[in-house]
């Protein structure tokens, strides 16, 4: 029964994703940001920031790998907390944080839960939160100044994964919604059609 309930929720989520595609003009892009950094600090100040994934109303987060950069002459990284709850809690995730490089926090998390279970956790009632806080970092200011805490190095070594192990932010081109132009859709689909033809023709030329 539990599984059926989960599957129903997953189905609803999938339907939601489909709806999201159809209404892509309305959907916000998925983004990952640092939230809560003060504009200025005095030496000895303590503050925390959150790492937030936004725009995931029709998506789950299943794994992530991020680099948080800061000025090590201005800030000291006290701690980095990964929020395990949405990913199955302790025991059902593989995660770690690395402070080895001055000015850089390298952290990752991989959930051991299935997409269905993650859907149940992150999208209760088949309604996903528009944003998910995945981690927090705490700093102490070493001097007066304007602290800059940012996410860097997106690409092969840093990204955010969604359902079915697809990259939802970082590695793949950002899903920037454009006007739902039928012509653009048509061009894309013609490309899909042309690809196998071109492959076959190339093979034939080799023969």
């Amino acid at each position: 029964m539990f599984k059926l309930k989960q599957m129903a929720r997953a189905a609803a989520l999938v339907a939601g994703i489909g709806l999201g595609m159809a209404q892509s003009v309305m959907a916000a892009p998925i983004s990952v940001s640092v939230v809560g950094a003060p504009l200025s600090v005095n030496s000895g100040d303590f503050f925390s920031v959150d790492i937030v994934v936004s725009g995931i109303t029709t998506e789950i987060v299943s794994a992530w790998d991020i680099d948080v950069a800061y000025d090590p002459s201005l800030l000291f990284a006290d701690s980095f907390t990964t929020y395990l709850g949405p990913f199955g809690g302790f025991g059902f995730t593989d995660n770690d944080v690395d402070f080895t490089i001055p000015g850089l926090i390298d952290a990752y998390l991989v959930s051991f839960l299935s997409d269905l279970d993650l859907t149940d956790l992150q999208c209760p009632g088949a309604v996903c939160s528009p944003s998910l806080t995945i981690a927090s970092a705490s700093f102490t200011a070493l001097a007066d100044g304007s602290p800059l805490v940012e996410l860097v190095n997106w690409g092969d070594t840093n990204d955010v994964k969604g359902a079915d192990n697809k990259v939802i932010f970082g590695n793949a081109p950002e899903p920037v919604p454009e006007p739902a132009s039928l012509a653009l859709v048509g061009i894309a689909m013609v490309g899909m059609l042309a690809a196998p033809v071109l492959r076959r023709r190339k093979d034939a030329a080799k023969a």
């Binding site: 299943s62 794994a63 992530w64 790998d65 199955g88 059902f92 593989d94 770690d96 990752y108 991989v110 959930s111 051991f112 839960l113 299935s114 997409d115 279970d117 092969d156 070594t157 990204d159 994964k161 079915d164 192990n165 990259v167 590695n171 039928l182 012509a183 859709v185 048509g186 061009i187 689909m189 013609v190 899909m192 059609l193 042309a194 196998p196 033809v197 071109l198 076959r200 023709r201 093979d203 034939a204 030329a205 023969a207």
Partner: protein
Amino acid sequence: MSKFFSANKKLLSRVLLSAAVAGAAGAAQAATPFEVDVSTAINRGIEFLATQGVYNNPSSVGDDGASGLAMEALLEKRASGIPTDPPQGYIGATATDQGRLRTAAAYILDRVNNTSFYAYRDGQWMFALSSYALTGGPDKSTLAPANASYQTIKQAMDSLVDRTIAAQRQAPGFPQPINQGYWCYTAANCEDSSTTQFAVAGLAAAKSFYSSNKSADDPFADAARVTAIDAALARSRTAYELNAAVGSDNASCFNLSATERGHGYNSFNQSGYRPSLQQTASGIYIQLFGGANINTPMVQSYMQWVKNRYRWQDLDNLGNFWSGNSMGYYMWSSFKAMELLRQAGVPPSAGNIGPNEFGTLPAASAPACVVRQENKEPATFARPAVFGAGAVGYYAGEPKGQYFDFAHQLISMQCANGSFTCTGFPGSWGDSAQASHNSYALLVLQRSTGGGCVDTDGDGVCDDVDNCPAVANANQANTYGDARGDACEPRPLVSCDLDTDGDVDSVDVKLITALRNKPASVNRKADIDGNGIININDARACVLKCTRLNCATQ
């Protein structure tokens, strides 16, 4: 199994996608000018046969005509118009063509149990019926549910196969292998190759049918008949090896190399016929259907014989007594044999001939043969007027080779009404509507192999659908889901069981994340997606393959 089944799944999806975008962006035109004209020629040729009543029930060509050849040609029409694209089969055909195929199939289902063995017709009916059935053609329950005269597809195929094998020369009546494996016209009273080539082609296609797990009114799978067919095909292969002969009817190109061999219209042992172009060409595919491959010495000997005398214009004096009549069949059989070799993908060993070498040897080059023809140069031809205006160079850029030689020759031969019997027509058998010649022409233009099953690696999967045709892999495992099965995969095969303890669990995932963001060279097994870097994408990919819930360890 048959190429039709897999190919038409792709075709169907492309058709649906085409429909989806038609209103938005129009269809992509990827065909070359030559392919466009070939497509036009195919459509005109099919329409010509249709207007002659060949696809009717009863067929205008009668029980002993070329109705099966014409039906195969209709099944192998390309919906896209591009000859290298998948054949339409039944399911991908237009409503008009489906109607034609239904009446053509109904005719066969009605007539099989009202006829007795006749090699030409039964061979054609076997490959046409197999291709029709494997691509979703309706069975008796749809075509003629209340007519007791009709058989189901499986019943008709069983009858055709059983009586064909029964009519083959074999022990105990013919105890010597050199006398076995042949058919005559309606019985086993001669060693005729023109009939044997049809019987073999039909049985090879029936093997595709019986190897399939598909069904219509009855399931097609029949392991016992596959075994019986394999034995019959092996007998024919042996006969073509034992009766391999030297020489030709053309004295100027009599014997050109020490190892070349060929086959004439009857076995050399019984008749003394010297090899001919068309019977030597069909002898290549007869050996392939019997289990040989490109590096089998006698296959090479037959290929040498044809290569040394290659022609695309006519058969000159290389066709025994039926040089003009046999041109269409020579074109199909020789192209089909080379196409089967290309599908098998077995590379020729050092010094052996490959499947793309017919026409590459100039007439004066050793061994010299004055009637040998080189490949045509596409850029030197103007467009045949029947297709519209086009100056010399209209086909520039088209690849040279056997396909262009034959296809260009055929489309140049086509009349405005679609019959391939105008400019340069070398003559044929004069059968009703020239249905056999016109069908051969269509089958060449469509690169047809006639639905026959060559199973080079003997794993039970025909080469045309085998994801690794030269290496036995009955399970068709394909980790990457690409065109190559694991048995042919040059990349290291991925497995999330990194610790090789027989399952996938959190230990394996953590072995990957321990190497996070390192190059794949550190441990290629951990680069699950093969992108050259080990990262969380690989880790999460393996989570989704965990043996137990939540990647629990045992």
